[in-house]
Subunit: 107 residues, 4 copies
């Protein structure tokens, strides 16, 4: 038997894994970061069991290449997501932990 | 020798191929399509030699799945891009041609 | 407090969400499907807490387009993954459920 | 009027842009790099107007993260592609140029 709490945890994992690999590699700069944040939030919010998602991209890591932009990397993500299954919520995060983009359950 | 015209054509191809494979698979609905269009335009505009890009996503193809959303597919794209190299421009399109998402040089 | 079982569930969700959005959109045909299956398995196996992963792509859904190939879609996936955290395993699946690519915990 | 030569150049650009954004972000290590190279080649070869494609991934850039793997980045690519339209071929490359993954027409 899988509890509602476990299902909410599973769904949070799915959403974090999905958004990471969907969006990594997109050209981005400090000027376009806000537009990209809103698009990621709108996109993730469509998926089942998502109650809330906030996406912040770390501008300080957007070092311009030869052509003045950078690519979205995993380390730029600071994401908090709340999933809910049968009334039970899971809050999880994706954020930089040293040099690794860590996904973890918060509660 | 590669002419400026040929370089502009090459760059237009790169940008269309890139945006297609970067964004296909994103969750999308008629309600979030405009946000996604603006994010794609902002992202592509950062890349070198891009003078202008307009992205329209065909809402009529966004048939909701069990959970009420759909995924961005190649057939939904209607994109026009203008690249410019050494003063010479190339205008190219990505748009549905029957059941195939066709990329073609317009001029 | 998060249990090992819950962490294993979270990790299984991450991996399924990630592989889905990383690989959807790749050109594929019945002739290249086996190569792609092995590459996805090798790639996912590198990630932390993955004990085993098997990927099967449904050739019957690979209807050739005008140019004789198709694109990897979510409905083609039949994936089973086992994650393990502190000795506790989670087995999960991604497979077609009618017209939706369903991810679910098996045990 | 667009010449066969120009069409071959356009197609080469499309393929390089597409493969870059399709595959960037995949987990990879020196041990799995060959499998990934073959999968990318098989996938790209399915696309129209592709005569030949060779993919080499730079193992020396695959510095292991905390968990012992890395992610495919644009700088790891060394790709040569030949497209052909109406008997006219274009050879193009994607390879590292300092800190930028450069795409260029070779002939």
């Amino acid at each position: 038997m899988i509890s509602a709490r476990e299902k909410a945890i599973f769904e949070a994992g799915i959403k974090l894994g999905a958004l990471y690999h969907q969006w990594v590699g997109s050209p981005v700069s400090p000027q376009t970061a806000a537009t990209l944040e809103r698009a990621i939030e709108a996109s993730v919010s469509l998926q089942p069991f998502v109650e809330r998602v906030t996406v912040h991209l770390d501008r300080s890591l957007m070092a311009p290449n030869t052509f003045g932009y950078s690519e979205l990397s995993g380390l730029m993500f600071d994401v908090e997501i709340v999933t809910r299954v049968d009334g039970v919520a899971c809050r999880a995060k994706l954020r930089r932990n040293g040099t690794y983009p860590l996904m973890e359950i918060v509660e």
